[in-house]
Subunit: 166 residues, 2 copies
Amino acid sequence: MTPLPEPFRIRPAMRGDVPILLDLIRGLAEFENLTHQVTATPERLAAALFGDRPAAEAILAEAEGHVVGFALFYTNFSTFLARPGLYLEDLFVKPEFRGRGYGKALLRHLAGIATSRGCGRFEWSVLDWNEAAIRFYRSQGAEVLPDWRICRVTGESLQNLGRNAT
Amino acid sequence: MTPLPEPFRIRPAMRGDVPILLDLIRGLAEFENLTHQVTATPERLAAALFGDRPAAEAILAEAEGHVVGFALFYTNFSTFLARPGLYLEDLFVKPEFRGRGYGKALLRHLAGIATSRGCGRFEWSVLDWNEAAIRFYRSQGAEVLPDWRICRVTGESLQNLGRNAT
């Protein structure tokens, strides 16, 4: 891989970056053919990232005079370790800036945040048919857990499940 | 299913419950044949659950004069929704108290917390060979996502990945 073009930097997203972040989120959704699932608004995103009790954090990668990608993450928790973990919810590099090492740089940056915060693990999810991504993640030291599946309840099912709870 | 034996209640865990919680966590690890992975200490668990910036929350189920089970959870975040989600990290009912609806009551209680907090989704993980659990979760309205896999970096691999990060 060729060296990262200069100047390149990764920085925390700030409140003024909300429009840029929304563009990136929509770009990611488009890439995943999931645009119909995006209901994020500037107000909600700003509250979640920059409100009194932030639910997540975001970082931006800047290069060649542009924002070229972003990552959004939060801390989670391992019961067995009784330590926090870092969970990467989304990582996206704009299609026109791919293949230059920006995704790898974002991933390494997040691993650096995880270790500096004493996190016992760094996790994310990948689609099982995305063989190129899986190969890349393995080359970076990640294990792809074969036997865990994600269970999800949303919308009306969630309302129903929570109704008349003890 | 027979009605829950009275008196039954679910309550938030408190600092004084740390020894009970550790017992339950070890019980869960034993059930999963993962006892060797448990390195939690009372101090770390207390700090994570009851410190200045709690990383997770726990609830206890009490019945028949005993603590019969627990659940540990935290909020995460959906980028597309720009809303928090509830993530259930662990749910455990002591073997001698199973089959009486306590697990279901814990799950419903958590769904109630999720809706009351405006969470857009409620998620957890299940082992793909645990057919009884999968059947049960589906009966409660959960979708088991077939194609997502969890990637994880820990220990020395995490240190290496984070070294010399941008």
